[in-house]
Amino acid sequence: MIRREYTGNARRARNYIWNAAGRYDFEPPYLAFYPTGEVDMYVNLVLGLAVKWFDMDRLTDFFDSYKSSRSADEYDEFLWLGIENCVYAKELPERPILAQLRIDRANDFFRIQNSLSRQQVEMQSMAVYDQQAARWSEILGRHVLLAGKKRKMYEFLKFDGNLDTEGLIARMNEFFEEFFRFTPGISEEKRSFRLADSLRRGFGKRRGSSEKLMVRTADGGGITDKDVLLTHTAGMRYGFAPDKKDEDYIRACFGDCTYSDAEMRILEEALCTDADAACRLWVVKQQKNGIEAGALMSAGTTNAKTSDIQTQSGIDNSAVSRNTSIAKDARDFLTKVAEQRRRNKKYCEKNALMISESIKRLSAALGTLFESYSRHLPEKARAGRLVARNAYRLSVVHDPYVFLRDGDETENNIRVTLLLDASMSRLYSQEKIAAEAYVIASSLERIHIPLEILSYRTIRGFTVIEKLKECSEKRADSVLRYTAGGWNRDSLAFRTVGRMIREEDLNRTQSHILLILTDASPNDSMPIASGGRLGGKEYEGELSVREARKAVSALREDGIRTSAIFLGSSAHLDNVHQIFGKEYVRIQTIAQLADGVSELIAMMLRESPPD
């Protein structure tokens, strides 16, 4: 199920509904607001109370039975007026304040009507408006100006508070027979989001109404069925060892490799072996002006903007410039990167509140966790552990500070690396992954734990490790440059990152934690090598999972605590378990991140505490 994320007033509205329903196990997909954006407390309460008092599955059946009618919206409005009367009567003894809230809502109705523009008024269904105005007028003790059939309907819609679900449905059937001369049929169709759908249609399809806005609050960044499958379709398989042209392409897209040719040869000889033989590696650092700038220079683009960058930098990459095809491909990629960066930022801005709350919670939880593994530096005190060699000072110089106690200052020796899967399978979750990485990075930054962020993907036989943030950088904003694209040869990427971690800590003085944000679906167009040559077996499915598991085991044997934050589809749950054992946590919403990540790290530290 795709969980929707709500922020700001939407979360408040949702809480009203849940609170009134007395249950939190459903997602209200539509919420009630005034045109000003304020939460419509009363209507949200009524939505929740309907869930509390009735069997919503059965009501959904009823609503479904006439949904193909052109007047379905209008019918919904009438029926919900009736339901409002019914749940009000039912709930009033338990919640006496409802009477006052109803009066407040009636006042709001007329206040809002008076502020509507002429066009807005014209768009309203007058039949519905008449009934609503009459209902709210009566609540305010005003005279109800209805006669004839309208008056009869008005009286009919005062559904009694004694009705149960069956009685309510019978009453609604009578309503249709009495005023519209038809009997709704029972729908055969079974819908998956039945409860949600009833609520949506309840106050949701308010055709042309401006009295309140029912805002669909779903937003991007989530796991969808689309990101489950990525297969090697015909023509996509990359059956040859990468050549110079491929290297030019990688350079054009990502910029120059951080390591020298000699260093890369050593790295590749050590890591590109067995199943990954014939693969290549590329390690790049996030450039000061972003990867786009650096890489665009290499891509040799011709437009004015990038030419300026090229001129300023003074870099001449004529070999690449000559290859217009590569330049074009790289330009497309870089444009995508720039666009994605904007989207990531926008997503974070939109969810700023949730993100800041998650950072607060995660940093508090992690702070406590890491504190357990930090050492308090001793300080001199008047009481504590006596330092025998200084004891003479007591009587000789009357210095009482000859004791040591644990001071407030602490030191710890833990370093965290966050590795992001940047393959195409993450296409539909890019903003979410960037935001989650941002939350983790900012939380660790707050508690002064050094963090490095890397991403990995495989293109044209090159497994590219991109450093998004170095340990020395204070701010985590650079993680918002995260973009998905390419394949993911997890085994090679994991081994490379393990090697990089060890290269930076040759004396093994630090404890390392490697957190991998992954969908546990290793997949590459370059087949698995056999006997040093490219064999016929694809790097996908069970074989690729086995390779990734071997890489993770090797990392753990090397003392790097490795675990996964799983953001994938349920179809890959088995994979994540095979690759990472029990050391993974599944996250579906950013709100779960704080609990999930802190539990995961607690488990890692418990299983193998730092030295």
């Binding site: 809480n15 609170n19 939190y24 407390m41 919640r95 504190e371 644990d406």
Partner: protein, 306 residues
Amino acid sequence: MGDILDFLREEGVSENLIRGAEDFRARYPVSDEYRDRIPDPQYYYYGKETWEMALAVLLAGRNLLLAGPKATGKNVLCENLAAVFGQPVWNVSFHINMDASYLIGTDTFDGTKVTFRPGPIYLCADRGGFGVLDEINMAKNESLAVLHSALDFRRAIDVPGYDLIRVKPQTRFIGTMNYGYAGTRELNEALSSRFAILSVPEISETDLDRLIRRSFPDINPKICTQFVKLFMELMRKTEKAEISDRALDLRGLLDALSLIREGLTAGQALRMCIVDKTFDAYEQSLIMDVVKARIPAELDGTIVFG
């Protein structure tokens, strides 16, 4: 308040256990020096089953660990238990920087020589009474290792360089812990195995209603119900992690009623004692929404009481 044993009888707690507590009182009288450490509870804990389990554990000479979320009355129960057994209380509030020297004692200089200044666990073991280890899981497990010998069958504390302290037979240790709290950690097996662990359930609607009515006998019953339901709604919201548990404050709810009696409106009192317990403005608005859907802001003492 009256004798807490009468309250236990009213609650229907097993007479055997109550008699056991009376025998305990008689067997281990408290000297005048520590009599003022025996609590005189302001609130009683409600929950017959929890009472019976706790009394049985302490009568059997075991230590008790009360585990449960916020606002379940763990500290009230600790205080009540000490009152039932008529024993002085030695309180230790655990924190992250807690170490062995804080618990057992530390060297200090008294102006002429280095002396040993006993800590609360030492005093509790040596003088007898109930040691309340509040929020025990706030401390690091390794700092608590010094308690192992005091808590298990050895019932002794060996203070290096000083003495072997035998734990008095009437001494019991009662730990409290909250799993989900910020700053808490899991107890290791070595420590948790030395306690009988009692999961303190969340207060039920009926028990909360009785608690409020016992504390405020003149409260209007219908309004009392609304305050109870408000608390239950906040509890549910906390369970579902929609709000933090800062506002889930039973003491706060009782304080709010006291303030209403003093002349504040319900809106003002609940804001001070419940809503503003959290400092996050957004969370405050979520809590305020629950309050607004339950209690009229202008409600005052003349309506709530009498």
